[in-house]
Symmetry: C2
Amino acid sequence: MKIAVDAMGGDFAPKEIIEGIELARDAYPDITFQLFGRTDQIKKYLHNDTRIQVVQADEVIEMGDEPVKAVRTKKQSSIVLAATAVKEGTADAFFSAGNTGAILAAGLFIVGRIKGIDRPGLTTTLPVINNQDHKNFVMIDVGANADTKVLNIYQYALMGKYYAQNVLKIDQPRIGLLNNGTEADKGDMNHRKVHDLLAADKDLNFIGNVESRELLNGVADVVVTDGFTGNAVLKSIEGTALSMLKLIKGSIMSGGVKSKMGAVMLKSTFGDIASSMDYSKYGGAVLLGVKAPVVKTHGASKAPTVKNTIGQIKDIIDSKMIPQLNDYVTDHAEELQQIKDSIKSNR
Amino acid sequence: MKIAVDAMGGDFAPKEIIEGIELARDAYPDITFQLFGRTDQIKKYLHNDTRIQVVQADEVIEMGDEPVKAVRTKKQSSIVLAATAVKEGTADAFFSAGNTGAILAAGLFIVGRIKGIDRPGLTTTLPVINNQDHKNFVMIDVGANADTKVLNIYQYALMGKYYAQNVLKIDQPRIGLLNNGTEADKGDMNHRKVHDLLAADKDLNFIGNVESRELLNGVADVVVTDGFTGNAVLKSIEGTALSMLKLIKGSIMSGGVKSKMGAVMLKSTFGDIASSMDYSKYGGAVLLGVKAPVVKTHGASKAPTVKNTIGQIKDIIDSKMIPQLNDYVTDHAEELQQIKDSIKSNR
């Protein structure tokens, strides 16, 4: 398989991206890479070009660029060229640590939607804490769309199911709708409609509404929500975890000798915690609903995270989840159209 | 001042409620209380009825009751009778640890809205972590309304400002709009409209959009958002904090002697953390936009939290924030109506 890589995106690009790709190349002998970016800069950091092709991209989409406009006008940017390689079939997946909006726009407009999926959704894998039976869960959408309709959230459940089944290897993923209470009639009118649509679909293991308080306890394997709420919840979880780690550190540092000795004795405990909360080990955020894997890792990613994310892309491709999702949507086109019509007539 | 108390609401009612009220009675000599509930049960736990009047309520609104219906039909419930005492002016504020929806409905339908406020919003005070300059912040709405319009969020900013100024004693509270990015054009169309309305209001110290990742860092003193997102974010923060505390505990318990010794040495650190994250010390959630303080504390509250919440109600009353908000809305009725009209004509 071949992965198209935006070598210029991310806070530590191109250095950490290239080092990560070299780690991935060494770990996965069946992957070849295309690195898009400024050839002279890339060559400075590339130690060994076995299975790594370097492709010149004259432009770079910066973090501050307006995403849709940038993808339309910077035709020679590393993001646009990498996504175009996927569209044209010379690469199987697209990876970047750059401007999130531009990656989503490139996924949507260049790689293209799966026919039958109205809006792709961005999904992230998060850890489950203190639960022997569950290790992690996915949340979709965490920010691809700010304006989300009933049909979109219904389709997120479908996509999330295929992801959890194939990539996280969860047999019958429990799907939960993020809501402000667990009762079936919670939330606004749209949430009630989504709830009823999901409950009526016999192909989905829908467990009802779930609250954000319970997510890290493993209440569901796939948590579906609109992109605005999903983004806010994801960032709340991140922010709270970071604040608590800082709080612990600050309290220890200001706590005198006894406190510092205690911290040394608890070193493995703190290691466990940091490792439990470090979801970069699960890779990046995946834009589901497009024709090939489009995966975005954190802007601050270093080489090991880049390598893990390539491993995740390999899992997505090996599992054939995208062709399977595509087949399901094609085979059920009629039912999906009926659902669409029923939402419209219900307005 | 006189506070009407629902003695029957909460997981540990009436015992912990009554014990908390006795603590508050002893702490605040200028408060008298009316306890609404089953007289025979209340009298079992009431040690000393100085400044505490017991009023019989034949019914109780249970946690599972449908809120609006319960408030309409259970006319003899402790919640309805306590709210009615406020409406009729025989009490100055209403306190309960019971069914949140019923408390909100009683606040809205019995105590009544301030004229000019379209929808009251529920506000919670949360701690700021690792920041010398800021101690806490308020978030509004955390769940009073699932369907929220542009005008409502604009009014939340107004109410939040008065609360932060008078109760948290923050001079010019920095008001932030919760959004999925900090740039002015982030979010859906409604968020952009709210952003522009807030930015145009010279009476508000609006600092722009804020992200949920930054809330505990003290990025704003008043965070305004729709009730659905606010509820999800609040519960994410709670859930993550709880999960991390459990994670630390679990790791220590399974970590052998060295780890347990370390934990003993770090006892004060863990005490600091628990205390920083314990926002029950800030009292309960306040329904802002109604004519008198309507305050809801956590269902699991014990006597000390009940006492703290009564202290918070005293601060609200002493600060005269409600009459001040009322005066502002009355004095600016014309401008507020213009804003309302401009939103309508912009649709």
